[in-house]
């Protein structure tokens, strides 16, 4: 993909308009107006975040309407559509979607999360605007015709695409354009979920991978403004009605632990089905890809003859599961067939997201586990709805491997803080099981299948970071203090071979002095011996570090300094060690001799 040309310089407010020669007074007025009206890059970014949120919110509202209208057109408004429609609608929809994906919008295939990450890490924030249209049309067709996919992931990419287009149009700096796509992604996801906190956390946890004050404000603003738009147009009701939650008994936490274990293994089954099926279908001849979504649609339609609930995003069925409308057997069957249907839809190349199906499967698995537990221990367990609610977060943690988002999502949609303990227990267990038996998280797996090695946020989070304490050496035997005299310093250093001594200054700063400096000062005049070291030391102030600081910080800040002190955080004059460039390189596994060889070679 050819990345667009991006202005590398940050925007600065000019004091005069180039090419114009105004009179002095007019010049002052123009400069004043210019200062008043023009925005700094930071403020512009925040204002832009709000505008992105508004655009994304409006786009997602239209997207949701389009999905429903497509659904009515394909399957009719009945909750139990005619049998012929059930089978034919996903087939016809699949053919149309395949033609669009193969011929018109080739980039809409795949995960919107990964495409947004690719924009951030590979394409300098570039997402072609026709991807926005492509996702909108193709996903509305696919989901509306009954493919087992959800609208959240496409919404995320629609938001990211809008943001990217605006960022490029405004010629933001490269760094800002890179960050603008996640801002739009948060807006899109927030509007689709009607849950801004979860969207913000997901984008930070899964797309950006780090907390950054610079981008956090923009993400929050965009997410909130898009939710305001969606609630304004479509109402404030959540996607599904939330049942009341209450922990019946402390022992019930064990029941939620069981849910975590079952949810963890259900996540594994889901990943193990999507993971191998997708590359196999992708490897089939190109002409077959025109028919794969239709074939998947046919299978889903056949499943839909008995279980129409598995078709589409399935929010109504989640709602029903949470309100105890299904028996535990039915819940288990729905969960199992939704895994199959979603794996077929997603692997066939039909565009759409995995969020809603994940929530669906989680609600069904949770409900089934809760139903069985309620049968066995009726007085110790809550009704099925509570387990369906917790189950949604459990699958989110196990399948999408976004543990923080999964916890906050359940908290946010339930609006009930008392659910926190069951959610923490269940989600953590599911996450640990998924990690134990599936080394590569789903999004990373999909990216690698697409031939892209995007940074794995999970790996980044868990990669052990080297710290200063891993590289520093023991403090030298002699450390001088700034209050000492030259005579005292010479006496202390008399027997030492070292020609340079660290000096701790009274204000907490550090410097150094050489033996020659001390001897020169002592010989310079009669009172030279009595000169305090603080007046003698080099004007250079040494950078100092703390033992817990990341080693790459030390590498960046060390500069030309041959050796820097490592000091205590609570007492800057207390030396805990010293560190040099050689120490750092050694910690990174580079031997000084190799460095010398490289220098010679270069």
């Amino acid at each position: 993909m050819a990345a667009p040309q991006i202005h590398r310089e940050t925007h600065r407010v000019p004091q005069a308009i180039p090419g114009v020669e105004p009179s002095r007074r007019t010049g002052r007025w123009v400069a004043a107006a210019s200062r008043l009206l023009t925005l700094g890059e930071g403020n512009l970014f925040l204002l832009l975040a709000v505008i992105i949120g508004l655009f994304s919110g409006l786009a997602v509202v239209l997207f949701r309407i389009a999905i429903d209208w497509t659904h009515w057109w394909f399957l009719g408004s009945s909750l139990a559509p005619f049998r012929t429609r059930l089978v034919l609608a996903p087939v016809v929809g699949g053919l149309a979607v395949a033609a669009l994906v193969m011929r018109v919008f080739p980039r809409v295939r795949g995960s919107g999360v990964n495409q947004t990450k690719a924009a951030v890490y590979i394409y300098d924030g570039y997402i072609p605007f026709n991807t926005v249209f492509g996702k909108f049309i193709a996903c509305a067709l696919a989901i509306g015709s009954g493919q087992s996919l959800g609208p959240e992931d496409p919404s995320l990419q629609i938001g990211a695409g809008i943001a990217s287009a605006l960022g490029r149009r405004l010629r933001l700096s490269r760094e800002r354009v890179r960050l603008i796509a996640p801002v739009g992604a948060a807006a899109g996801l927030s509007a689709a979920f009607n849950a801004p906190i979860s969207a913000i956390l997901f984008v930070i946890e899964e797309v950006i991978g780090r907390w950054s004050a610079g981008v956090l404000g923009a993400i929050v603003l965009s997410a909130v403004s898009s939710v305001v738009i969606v609630r304004g147009f479509l109402g404030a009701e959540p996607l599904f009605r939330i049942p009341p939650f209450r922990l019946v008994h402390a022992a019930e936490l064990l029941a939620y632990a069981v849910l975590g274990i079952v949810g963890g293994f259900a996540s594994l089954v889901f990943v193990r089905l999507v993971g191998p099926l997708r590359p196999r279908l992708k490897a089939l001849p190109r002409w077959s890809q025109y028919f794969q979504p239709a074939a998947a649609g046919l299978l889903i339609g056949v499943i839909g003859l008995w279980l129409p609930q598995v078709m589409g995003a399935g929010y109504e069925s989640i709602d029903e599961a949470m309100h105890g409308h299904y028996s535990w057997r039915m819940l288990a069957v729905l969960g199992a067939f939704k895994i199959l249907a979603t794996s077929l839809s997603f692997s066939s190349g039909a565009p759409g997201g995995m969020f809603a199906p994940t929530l669906f499967i989680g609600a069904m698995v949770g409900g089934a586990v809760g139903g069985i537990e309620h049968l066995l221990f009726p007085s110790l367990t809550a009704p099925v709805g509570a387990y369906a609610l917790v189950g949604m977060g459990t699958l989110f943690a196990g399948f999408l491997r976004a543990p923080m988002t999964s916890v906050f999502m359940v908290l946010e949609v339930s609006g009930n803080y008392s659910i926190i303990l069951p959610v923490l227990i269940s989600n953590t267990l599911a996450y640990l099981i998924s990690r134990r038996y599936q080394a590569v998280p789903l999004f990373d797996l999909l990216a690698r299948q697409d031939g892209v090695d995007l940074p794995s946020m999970e790996e980044q989070r868990e990669e052990p970071a080297l710290r200063v304490e891993d590289a520093m050496r023991k403090a030298p035997a002699l450390v001088l203090r700034g209050e000492e005299t030259v005579a005292s310093a010479l006496a202390k250093g008399a027997g030492l071979a070292s020609g340079r001594f660290l000096v701790s200054l009274p204000n907490g700063e550090w410097s150094y002095v050489t033996k020659q400096d001390l001897e020169r000062q002592a010989a310079s005049s009669a009172g030279g011996n009595l000169t305090p070291l603080s007046r003698l030391v080099s004007e250079t102030r040494l950078p100092y570090f703390h033992p817990d600081q990341p080693l790459d910080v030390a590498l960046r800040r060390l500069g030309d300094c041959p050796e820097a002190p490592v000091v205590h955080r609570a007492d800057f004059r207390k030396l805990q060690g010293v560190i040099s460039l050689v120490d750092i390189l050694r910690a990174y596994g580079v031997s000084p001799s190799a460095l010398t060889t490289q220098e010679r070679w270069s």
Partner: protein, 374 residues
């Protein structure tokens, strides 16, 4: 375009585009909501029709569709819950009702349905709580009537569980709230009568008669209540008036006959001339003794001393026979009471041994019990 204002210009240009998009989205949303509302109405109509045809399963599906498209319209949700209840899917119905109650805790119909479900489960405490919420809740149509109906349902529920005093307390509260309507007053009076709270029943009927003096059901009820209270004269008066309005009420006619019989045999009527009083005592004594003898005979039971309660009473009666016929009996009220006490004991023992009295014996029993029963 000048570079200085390039970004700001683009940003400003965003606003008209946003405004346009707002208009487009607004129009699309309005059309979408209108379509949803239309679908909701359509499926609701189909659901009601299916319910009317008795096809509950079909109705549930249609009402569910109506509920989904209406985004939680309370009326649709309530009808869906009712359909689920009629299909015995009570747990599902309960979840819908609970959701409705969470949104609108004072919804009368919802609370009433929840009360019925709780009553069906046998959870009396919860049922009463929901009944009360229904009674004091808000009703969209004919609120007073619906509240009264809920109150009456609560009364019947409590009575069915044997919680008579709680039930009567509810009925009393309902009686206070009744509008000036003789029909309603009479209905409540009937319930008091059924619950054997004759005083309150009579009070209620009298209230109805003050509103409409010739209200036949109230007259009949008042007669019955007065009869059960032992006020046979008042009972006779009410029943006679009732029969004047409804000649073919055989039950009232029988009651009136009995009341008249009691009045005819009652020796304790203060207005009776002494001779008549003595005559009534003698007649009562002879009648009850004859019944006792006949009963013993029918049961082939000996009346020899020491042969059971009938024989004991028979012996006592034989002892008292002479005293009963004493010409000065009516002037000795203590003895009069003693004779009538024996009459009452003989009638009671005979009833225990040979079944309930009828005709004159019943009248004697009632008259005696009115004055002598503990």
């Amino acid at each position: 375009m000048n570079d200085t204002f390039r970004r700001e210009t683009i940003l400003i240009a965003c606003f008209p585009i946003l405004a346009l998009l707002f208009l487009v989205t607004g129009a699309a949303t309005r059309a979408y909501h209108a379509k949803q509302a239309g679908l909701a109405r359509e499926w609701y109509g189909k659901g009601r029709a299916a319910l009317a045809r008795g096809k509950v399963g079909e109705a549930i599906q249609d009402l569910h569709a109506a509920f989904v498209y209406s985004h939680g319209d309370a009326a649709y949700e309530l009808d869906l819950a009712k359909a689920l209840i009629s299909a015995h899917r009570t747990e599902e119905a309960r979840t819908y009702l609970m959701a409705l109650r969470d949104r609108d805790p004072e919804n009368g119909p919802v609370n009433l349905e929840l009360a019925r479900l709780a009553a069906e489960r046998g959870d009396a405490g919860e049922a009463v709580r929901y009944f009360h919420s229904a009674i004091y809740g808000l009703w969209p149509e004919r609120p007073e009537e619906q509240r009264r109906a809920a109150w009456l349902e609560l009364y019947h529920f409590l009575m069915s569980r044997g919680q008579r005093s709680e039930a009567l307390a509810e009925l009393m509260a309902l009686a206070v709230e009744l509008p000036p309507d003789p029909v309603l007053q009479t209905q409540v009076g009937d319930l008091f009568l059924q619950a054997k709270d004759y005083e309150r029943a009579l009070h209620q009927y009298e209230g109805a008669l003050r509103l409409e003096p010739n209200h036949e059901p109230a007259l009949r009820g008042a007669g019955e209540a007065a009869f059960n209270l032992g006020d046979y004269r008042q009972a006779e008066r009410y029943l006679r008036r009732a029969l004047r309005l409804e000649r073919h009420d055989s039950e009232a006619a029988q009651r009136l006959e009995l009341a008249q019989a009691v009045l005819d045999v009652d020796p304790f009527d203060p207005l009776l001339p002494p001779a008549e009083r003595r005559q009534r005592v003698v007649r009562a004594f002879d009648q009850s003794l004859a019944r006792l003898v006949k009963c013993a005979h029918d049961r082939r039971q000996s009346l020899q001393p020491g042969q059971g309660s009938l024989a004991l009473l028979y012996a006592e009666a034989e002892t008292m026979r002479a005293e009963v016929r004493h010409p000065q009996l009516e002037r000795r009220p203590a003895r009069l009471s003693a004779v009538m006490n024996l009459v009452f004991q003989m009638e009671t023992a005979t009833t225990e041994a040979c079944g309930p009295p009828s005709g004159l014996d019943e009248a004697i029993t009632l008259a005696a019990s009115k004055h002598l029963a503990p």
